[in-house]
């Protein structure tokens, strides 16, 4: 039995986690909330040593220290552009840890006095879902890091194999619940790993953000189930909070991209995508120099900036902010149009611009900015592509079809700052590039932005 005071401390930690999430309702309270959450985690980790007599204290402390250093160094070194990879990686190791804990529990069950069927089922569930989360997150990491193609990977028989894996895993959960032990536990883990890989492989690059969120929810559920197995209320509450919120966020994001969660995951399997099937890209485009664009911007009255991932990769967001400052000083009305999935995960662009000290009040969400494009003189698209691609409205076969886009095509003039004519993350061509009102400014976003900035200053 866990001592009462330890249980009370766990309750306090659970409240800290709720406050951490509650703090995120405003940028002003968010940081304090996160620190409260971290304090809760610290206290809970300290009292677990008093929960029951524990052995192996020295190796445990070394393991905690090692993990803490690895985590902290990774978290400090990572660039803001690589945030999705890092979240995927942390999520994966968390899911892996939960799965391993449950494997150890299932192994122990064959000797302890018979645990209830609910407990063994929960443990078996934890192993499978934790392994799915681990393997799925690693594949997601590989896709985001460019270690493998960002296009959907589909092979004949994949749907059948996936379905077979899931059914076998369900059967294995039943078997392991009735007759727990190490062998069933390992079988469950292997099935989970396979299911995780098969789940994420067919997901295309543009949909990866939804998958990260979904796997995050999975890990939450895993931890909650693990909490039940271990008889630990804090794990149950924390895991359920993450599972519930992660599920809601996944649904919200999928809705933001105009699709259902199932079509995100299984869309490629139905063979609807026409990736890379765009027409030849040797059609003429209109390009201009930084000076031309500077004049266009400098004498406009309403300008909208559409920042994309390419901006952040080139580290041009600071120069962009300076440009916006100069334009604002000239009396020009400038706003940033933020697509819900701009960047590589929801809210990613907000973080990237926050890094460049753009006040968040200047960032306008898609639904609020879309009616304003037709009244704008110039729209400057920097390193974005898929989120302004009209194919989402016009080409039913396109992988991004149905995704709500920024209505840049309604503006009077459009300027694309691009490195090349290469298509975006979703791998499809953008018709807007060939539109007569579109001008292209080729080059590295940082260099071009600097040139543009000095040209506007010289006006």
């Amino acid at each position: 039995m866990i001592p009462v005071w330890v249980q009370v401390v766990y309750l306090v930690a659970a409240v800290c986690f709720i406050l951490a999430l509650k703090g995120l309702s405003s940028p002003k309270t968010a940081r304090r909330g996160n620190l409260i959450g971290a304090a809760g985690a610290l206290v809970a980790t300290a009292v677990v040593f008093f929960e029951r007599p524990l052995g192996n204290i020295v190796p445990i402390l070394i393991a905690v220290g090692l993990g803490a250093v690895l985590g902290a160094v990774g978290a400090r070194r990572v660039q803001m552009t690589q945030m999705p990879q890092l979240v995927a990686l942390f999520n994966g190791v968390g899911g892996g840890a939960a799965a391993i804990v449950a494997v150890a529990e299932l192994h122990g069950f064959d000797r302890e006095p018979a645990p209830s069927a609910v407990t063994t089922t929960a443990a078996a569930f934890t192993v499978v879902v934790g392994a799915v989360s681990f393997a799925g997150s690693l594949v997601t990491f590989a896709k985001l890091q460019g270690l493998m193609t960002t296009r959907p990977v589909v092979f004949p028989g994949l749907p059948v194999l996936f379905a077979a894996t899931i059914l076998t895993a369900i059967a294995a959960i039943v078997i392991a619940a009735v007759d727990p032990g190490l062998i069933p536990a390992i079988a469950l883990a292997v099935l989970g790993l396979l299911a995780g890989v098969l789940l994420v492989l067919p997901v295309g690059g543009a949909d990866v953000p939804i998958v990260i969120s979904l796997l995050n929810a999975f890990t939450g559920l895993t931890v909650a189930a693990g909490g039940y197995v271990l008889g630990n209320v804090l794990l149950l509450i924390a895991g359920t909070l993450v599972g519930a919120s992660g599920t809601l966020l996944t649904v919200m994001m999928a809705r933001g991209m105009g699709r259902s969660v199932t079509s995100t995951l299984f869309g490629a399997l139905r063979g609807g995508s026409t990736l890379g099937a765009g027409t030849a890209s040797d059609r003429p485009v209109r390009s201009a120099t930084a000076q031309d664009i500077a004049i266009m911007l400098g004498y406009a009255s309403r300008v909208i900036i559409v920042p994309g991932y390419g901006l952040a990769v080139a580290q041009a967001q600071h120069a962009l902010r300076e440009l916006v400052d100069v334009l604002t000083e000239r009396g020009i009305e400038v706003d940033y149009a933020i697509h819900p999935v701009a960047g590589r995960m929801p809210g990613h662009m907000n973080v990237l611009l926050a890094e460049a000290q753009v006040p968040y009040e200047q960032l306008v969400e898609m639904d609020d900015i879309n009616p304003r494009f037709k009244h704008s003189d110039v729209v400057l698209v920097v390193g974005a592509n898929d989120v302004v691609n009209p194919a989402a409205k016009t080409t039913p076969g396109a992988p991004i079809y149905g995704m709500p886009i920024l209505k840049v095509d309604e503006a009077k003039q459009v300027v694309f700052m691009k490195r090349s004519m290469r298509p975006g993350f979703a791998g499809i061509e953008n018709e807007l590039l060939y539109d007569p009102k579109t001008t292209l400014l080729f080059g590295d976003a940082k260099e071009t932005m600097d040139k543009l900035l000095s040209a506007v200053k010289a006006l």
């Binding site: 993990g67 968390g94 973080v351």
Partner: protein
């Protein structure tokens, strides 16, 4: 009350708290939200420590210690990176006043140069 019912009660109430708290999160903060919830599930660390601490065989101890390292990466890394992001959102509070101070001085020159 039956023990299982107590657990079920906690589960159901936690689901509602989770949904309620998240529905109020501003979309500006969706990335920190993901990394923040990510950090919270790293609390599986205490489960991993229990397993390692009560291990009665070498293989279980190894499993427990591996889980402990992984969970600690998740927990500590998650909170640190979330703090790094949120610091940028709060630090920026200083920026707007600075710009407001600059704006009135420079605005006339900007207008002089305009056609």
């Amino acid at each position: 009350m039956n023990d299982a019912v107590v657990w079920l009660t906690i589960l159901v109430l936690s689901i509602f708290v989770g949904l309620e708290v998240i529905s109020k999160v501003s979309s500006t903060l969706h990335t920190p939200l993901m990394s923040g919830t990510n950090a919270i599930h790293g609390i599986i660390l205490i489960g991993a420590i229990s397993v390692a601490g009560t291990a009665d065989s070498a293989p279980v101890l190894v499993l427990g210690l591996v889980a402990t390292v992984l969970a600690a990466v998740n927990l500590v890394g998650g909170f640190v990176v979330t703090d790094r992001m949120l610091k940028m959102f709060t630090a920026r509070r200083k920026a707007p006043p600075k710009r407001l101070q600059e704006a009135p001085g420079k605005e006339p020159t900007g207008k002089d140069k305009a056609p």
